[in-house]
């Protein structure tokens, strides 16, 4: 492809991805083919242990597949030389347990994702403030995670995930520990990300109602994508 050609391929594409654990005895993923368009919001559902989170960790280059190919944007993940840089520049991650560092303020938790990026220190702080404003936490930027509600913590985690302008956002059960009001807030944030910033979102959830807010739902069972 020349530099003037427009890449019309899907944003995320996997082919026959397998992930085998325990010396070949457990197949967490057993030949997954998935395609997600740029700017699409896809929910992955399925019972516990079906391989949803494993698939997400492979898409984020947190782990490597046993076989198969994964492409995210222009990155062929199996050929990735610097997975850290890929995650820092292209991927935003939101976890069920938010995983905020308890001794840092909300602002620090957002800013820490930008350490190692090319942004100067002052700009990092400005951007972290701006992101916290976007998720409605301007007044709580100096609070520590223990001083925030579950929904507020998850909003900080979303702000952190967006710190480096990722092209894709992966969220693993982001609403699993939230009350209904916080669920709506977080889903509203995702929707805004997609519409305002064109971020591609892949969300893993058990919750049918949460999955319904996505453009498309992919169902998994026993390490495979199946028809719902």
């Amino acid at each position: 492809m020349s530099e003037h050609d427009v890449d019309t391929r899907p944003m995320i594409e996997t082919h026959d991805v397998k992930k085998i654990y325990a010396d070949g005895k457990v197949a967490a993923l057993d030949g997954v083919d998935l395609s997600v368009s740029a700017g699409e919001f896809v929910a992955i559902t399925g019972p516990s242990g079906c391989g949803k989170s494993t698939l997400l960790s492979l898409l984020a280059a947190l782990d490597g597949p046993t076989s198969g190919t994964i492409r995210v944007g222009s990155y062929e993940l199996q050929q990735l030389k610097n997975a850290d840089r890929f995650r820092r520049q292209e991927v935003g991650l939101v976890f069920q347990l938010h995983n905020l560092l308890p001794r840092l303020s909300a602002l620090g938790n957002v800013e820490i994702a930008m350490m190692g990026s090319d942004r100067p220190r002052a700009e990092r702080a400005r951007r972290a403030q701006s992101l916290l404003r976007d998720v409605g936490l301007t007044d709580l930027s100096d609070r520590r995670p223990t001083q925030l509600s579950g929904g507020e913590r998850q909003r900080v985690a979303v702000a952190r995930a967006l710190a480096n302008d990722p092209s894709v956002l992966y969220a693993d059960e982001p609403t699993g520990s939230l009350d209904s009001k916080s669920v709506s807030t977080v889903l509203g944030l995702f929707e805004r990300l997609r519409t305002d910033h064109g971020v591609t979102i892949v969300l893993v959830t058990h919750d049918v109602a949460v999955a319904a807010s996505a453009d498309r739902t992919v169902h998994m069972l026993d390490g495979r994508i199946v028809e719902p």
Binding site: R85, R88, L93, G108
Partner: protein, 372 residues
């Protein structure tokens, strides 16, 4: 937020762990700095003997365990005097005696009155003793001051009462804290007739001291020459052994300290597995994680080193005040001692934190994040 503020925040957040590491470093640094300043003090005290005569170099018997055990006879002194390039050679007997509790190693110098001038002695009060005068002594002005004695007073030493006939100055503190006796008298007191400890040599002006020294050593393999404190080990094996012991202790302190630091850092790594997993997940490079862990350790090492140096000052002062060591031990806090302490502290930190840091950096994010 900067790397530094993050490091400080992490240290502050784990006060017990941080205190443990800093204390381990402080104890190791204290041990090494104290050993160094004590050995430096002993070396300086021993080497001060050489400075009294203001010589270009000093000749001693080779390979003795203590320089005061060096023994040269009159014939050797004459040979030294006749060596080409030697302007003067003054044979001096050096002994130490316990005068009182404050002076357990009072220096006594046996020297002929005819050699006093070339030895750099100035009479401040009274006169010099006669060459064979019995029971006459000159006191260094500092010694006279400390002992409260004046010309005409009696000074008890070597089991006899001696009349103080003069007060002298050598311009060297160590020499001015002792007493001078006629050489034959001090030889007789110590039952070493015809023997001197050291020969203080002055080279003919204009000649190279190093060349004369080298020529002399080649002609007299049984003797050794000393020009600087660093050459002192040639004639005093005890100091060489002491220095080797200090170096060995330094290495041991680094190794033992590194194990303590490493153990504590590893425990900390287990506590912070999720944190490191998260940092890796959000794109922190391995090198950045290593830098974070090592930086925390280095900051604690610097704090520990400062505490260790403070403790070493207190311990050295405590050792000096012990009755057994009073007047014997004079700690010498040199830049080398502080550098050595810093090397120990930083060495412990780097050695101790590197393995935990690399383990932290190599954590698989997925596994680390699922750690309970």
């Amino acid at each position: 937020m900067t790397h530094f503020s993050l490091v400080i925040g992490n240290i502050w957040a784990k006060k017990a762990r941080s205190t443990g590491i800093a204390l381990a470093v402080a104890l190791a640094v204290m041990t090494v700095v104290t050993l160094t300043v004590v050995s430096n003090g002993l070396e300086n005290a021993a080497a001060a003997v050489l400075t009294i005569g203001k010589a270009d170099f000093t000749v001693a018997q080779k390979g003795v365990s203590d320089i005061l055990y060096s023994s040269l006879d009159n014939g050797q002194v004459a040979q030294i005097q006749s060596t080409p390039g030697v302007k003067s050679a003054v044979g001096v007997l050096l002994e130490t005696e316990r005068i009182n509790a404050a002076n357990p190693l009072f220096i006594e110098i046996g020297i002929q009155p005819s050699d006093l001038e070339s030895f750099g002695v100035t009479i401040l009060d009274g006169t010099a003793y006669g060459p064979d005068a019995p029971n006459e002594v000159m006191l260094g002005w500092r010694a006279a001051q400390d002992l409260g004695l004046h010309v005409g007073d009696q000074f008890k030493a070597n089991g006899t009462s001696n009349t103080v006939v003069g007060i002298y100055s050598t311009g060297i503190s160590y020499g001015d804290l002792g007493a001078m006796f006629p050489l034959p008298a001090l030889q007789a007191y110590n039952r070493v007739p015809g023997s001197v400890t050291l020969v203080f040599v002055k080279v003919v002006p204009g000649l190279s001291v190093a060349k004369v020294q080298a020529t002399f050593e080649a002609a007299h393999p049984e003797l050794t020459t000393i020009r600087t404190a660093s050459q002192f080990g040639r004639a005093d094996r005890n100091l060489v052994f002491l220095k080797a012991a200090v170096t060995g202790s330094t290495v041991l302190a680094i190794l033992i300290g590194a194990v303590i630091v490493g153990n504590t850092m590893l425990l900390s790594l287990f506590e912070r597995t999720r944190e490191f997993g998260l940092l890796r997940a959000i794109g922190w490079a391995r090198s950045r994680v290593v830098a974070l862990v090592v930086s925390e350790s280095l900051i604690l090492a610097l704090i520990g080193s400062a505490i260790g140096v403070g403790l070493s000052v207190a311990v050295a002062a405590g050792l000096e005040s012990l009755p057994q060591l009073n007047g014997v031990l004079h700690s010498s806090f040199t830049a080398e001692a502080f550098w050595r302490g810093l090397v120990v502290g930083l060495g412990m930190a780097i050695l101790g934190s590197l393995y935990p840091a690399i383990r932290a950096a190599n954590l698989t994010p997925v596994k680390a994040l699922s750690n309970e």
